[in-house]
Symmetry: C2
Subunit: 194 residues, 2 copies
């Protein structure tokens, strides 16, 4: 089975856009998506990169560009009023969900919550609701994300992504090949089919 | 007649990639391309932006990404051994060529020289050769690029681009709408047709 590693942070709107397309892309290519949350702030720091919106005119441009992509894909999008939200706990919850075979369902629900429904992923009640929505026990899930093994997995994936060469989000790996950005999904699909 | 403003610096390889596609795109959309060279270094500085390759892993990634796009388009590409070349004189020559209706021919030839043929645009003999190739008098052209009015036009276009909101290259404007990057040409075409 072919696989792709999808490295993202819920705080990245371009990662949301990519996430809306990946299930169908993977189905077309006969591949599996590995959902790998990473702490984007730590990736930027380790790579020597800056937040894209540090440049004011670039930040303004990106708001329009994000809307163009959402229209192009036909997916809902609303720039989060909670940005930059603390997404650490939501990202740890991906690992809890993964242990029950629900990484994709939870990841997609959390992305929609942040970038289509303007919900705050830093709030425990949001997380409990999202966990419940994909069939997880919310109390057990919220307890699990405070445990060291789950914290360690998020950190380990973040470190591994930087070592592989990630410098921004989303980053998609097919084997050793890196594809950066929602705007490279056609190359990802080619690489999976090639 | 619909128009698009194509802001570029010959030193930008993504601008070269976009330039290879623009004549056909404009023909499909019934539009005219205005070739507008700008001093990218000055744009970065004014916008508070950095050279993309300042981040080492990003620079390494871009080399592969450029090759993917060239293969995707079926156009020749070889990363210039003269990068970053001084492209000021070549960009002034676009204005000299424009005054004789040869902006597109000269721009395309100079981009190919830098990014497909590994020629150095900082050399007067390269410029003379390119000028001759598009039917300009090379001696007159090389004299013209040292005159103040031609220098002023390059500077004025650079300032105007920054004022419009340009922060990186290539930048394409359709009316007031900015599209940044070789990877947004599909949105450019939609905007021209819309």
């Amino acid at each position: 089975m072919k696989t792709l590693d999808f490295y993202f942070d819920f705080s990245s709107p371009y990662s949301y856009l990519a996430a809306t397309q990946l299930p169908a892309l993977a189905a077309r290519a006969g591949a599996t998506v590995h959902y790998r949350p990473v702490v984007l702030f730590a990736v930027f720091k380790a790579a020597g990169n800056d937040m894209p919106a540090k440049v004011p005119t670039k930040g303004a441009y990106m708001l329009k560009d994000l809307e163009r992509w959402a229209r192009h894909y036909g997916v809902p999008f609303r720039f989060s009023s909670h940005f930059p939200s603390n997404t650490l706990k939501a990202m740890r919850l991906v690992h809890v969900a993964a242990d029950q075979g629900k990484a994709e369902a939870f990841t997609q629900a959390a992305f929609r919550a942040m970038w289509a429904e303007d919900r705050d992923l830093a709030r425990p009640d949001t997380l409990a609701d999202l966990a419940r929505g994909v069939g997880l026990d919310p109390e057990a899930a919220l307890a699990a994300i405070e445990t060291q093994p789950i914290k360690d997995r998020l950190r380990a994936d973040t470190d591994a992504a930087v070592t592989r060469g990630m410098f921004g989000a989303p980053a998609i790996y097919v084997g050793d090949e890196l594809f950066w950005g929602n705007d490279r999904l056609h190359f990802v699909e080619e690489a999976l089919k090639g």
